[in-house]
């Protein structure tokens, strides 16, 4: 009798905690999504109603279709920024994956002078405060004429994402048995051949994990983009920041823009969750 009662109250307590967690995690973001499909009338009423009377996609339409000025080259500021974000994200991702994978292979499998030092340096660079790099970076980009360009921003992104890729991939490479590689090499394969044919296919989860990390890190990056880009090359996060920091904030537009900007990283994280968690634990990095 007593133990059944205890079990029942334990279950109730557990489910209460679960519901509390679910609400806590989801409610703020859900409110952003709801706001994005609401009209001003829905949101400015007191007392506030939690669901819009007439859900609408109007806020999204104005984001994509409004042509704000000639400067945005026939696109809305929003579409222009989105294109900038895509270009910067994919180019920095490509560079990081290429150099990150070969570097990770070298530090995981080859013994060469300075290996340990380089490993610690890489980890240290991950600890480097962006705010300490931001000022000289600004002067350097300005002097080489890469201010407010996609190339400049992509380069800056590479510097802080590359160490991340190396850490994640190194963890995955270390978990692949050395014997597999040796077998391929005895069969006459070169070292890089073995990397391409044996190691990379086996570490596909690692590659996926690292690529998704690259995407999210670069797509979400704000500080550098905020300081190094403006009208021409500004990315989505910069534009969203402008929605809220300039006078006359349009919260509806901001909510719609926020939902669009968060959709790729959120969906990628949901789809590739398992890979990401392995990446987090293999690399012991924060992403």
């Amino acid at each position: 009798m007593g133990s059944t009662l205890r079990r029942v109250s334990r279950r109730t307590l557990l489910y209460a905690a679960v519901i509390l967690i679910a609400i806590g995690v989801l409610a703020p973001y859900a409110w952003l999504v709801i706001s994005s499909i609401s009209t001003k009338i829905d949101l400015l009423g007191v007392p506030l109603k939690w669901l819009p009377a007439h859900p609408t996609l109007e806020n999204y339409r104005t984001l994509f279709l409004g042509t704000d000025s000639a400067l945005s080259q026939g696109m809305s500021f929003f579409s222009r920024s989105m294109l900038n974000s895509l270009i910067v994200t994919f180019s920095s991702m490509g560079v990081c994956m290429l150099f990150g994978v070969v570097t990770a292979y070298a530090v995981a499998r080859l013994r060469f002078p300075g290996r340990r030092f380089y490993l610690i340096l890489l980890m240290g660079s991950y600890m480097m405060p962006p705010i300490a790099i931001v000022i000289p970076g600004y002067i350097i980009l300005k002097s080489v004429g890469l201010m407010d360009t996609q190339v400049g921003l992509a380069l800056v992104d590479v510097t802080f994402i590359l160490p991340l890729v190396v850490w994640i991939m190194r963890g995955f490479f270390l978990s692949i048995p050395l014997e597999l590689e040796e077998a391929a090499r005895i069969d006459g394969s070169s070292r890089l051949g073995a990397l391409l044919r044996i190691i990379l296919p086996l570490s596909a989860p690692g590659l996926v994990s690292a690529a998704v990390f690259c995407f999210i890190a670069s797509w979400n990056e704000y500080l550098y983009a905020f300081l190094y880009t403006s009208m021409r090359a500004r990315t989505l996060p910069v534009l969203i920041g402008e929605f809220t920091t300039k006078v006359g904030t349009d919260y509806l537009k901001m909510a719609a823009a926020g939902v669009v900007a968060s959709a790729p990283p959120v969906l990628l994280a949901l789809i590739f969750q398992r890979f990401l968690i392995r990446g987090l634990t293999e690399g012991a990095v924060k992403g």
């Binding site: 806590g24 952003l32 070969v102 530090v107 060469f112 480097m128 590359l162 901001m254």
Partner: protein
Amino acid sequence: MASRLFNPFTMDEPRRLGITLVMPSVIIVFGFLLFPFLYSLVLSLMNYDLARPQENSFLGLRNYLQLTRDKYFLNSVVVTLFFSFVSVAAEIVLGVAIALVMNQRFKGRGVLRALIIIPWALPSIVNASMWTWILNANYGALNALLSQLGILRAYKPWIAEPGWAMIMIILANVWKETPFTVILVLAALQGIPTDLREAAVVDGAGAVRRFGSIVLPMIAQIIMICALLQVIWSLLHTFELVYVVTRGGPYNSTDIIPMRIYWQTFKALRFGYGAAMAYLAAVALLVPATFYIRAAYRVTVD
């Protein structure tokens, strides 16, 4: 070790290949990270103004000396430490508690585990804008919710009051960062062999005892790494949250160091002074960073 040395595998000039493969990323890391970092040191010893380069001059340690008397900077140090300490404490305690709940068996566990990653994946600028909207004094969801629940009689301008502004910044930060702790701790919890727990149950150990003497020791290391990462992260990456939600105000009550550096450098255009501040912050950060590197190095290398 010995088998490695006599291995045909490691003998065919791994040195040359290793160095070649590492070279591009060495150039990138040195060129774009270490060089600016050293450049920053030089800047911090100068009076450097982008707009008036003819007035640039070498100051020696004068920027640093001035920092020790700059009451805004000293305020920022206190604000930053408070923000960071409270945030991380909450992220760890909440994170471990949530992970323990989510490690139980319940309906919808898979779904909740998937959804918990959303705040982590959210761009931090979206997080900041979202909370600005939620905290809005006139139309914000928090005011609406609290007054509909009868907790709040009149709408409150959360970010216009120093104490509340700090609490709200911490809340927004904790909401976004806690899932990271949950994910790592949950992964560690699942690594605990179930027979170990069952044995403890058989031995009559209660829930508290089981947690204290079996679970906690097994997740202690990951909690340690988590805490260090969260500290470093909160010190480094909180610029946009404060910039968007409170702009450092009211009355500098949320003026964290990255904000102060931003004002001095890009608004007052005192690049040298800003660099000195950034450098001091970076050096202070070496303490948790060293601990982290040692802890993580032990995990991943040994």
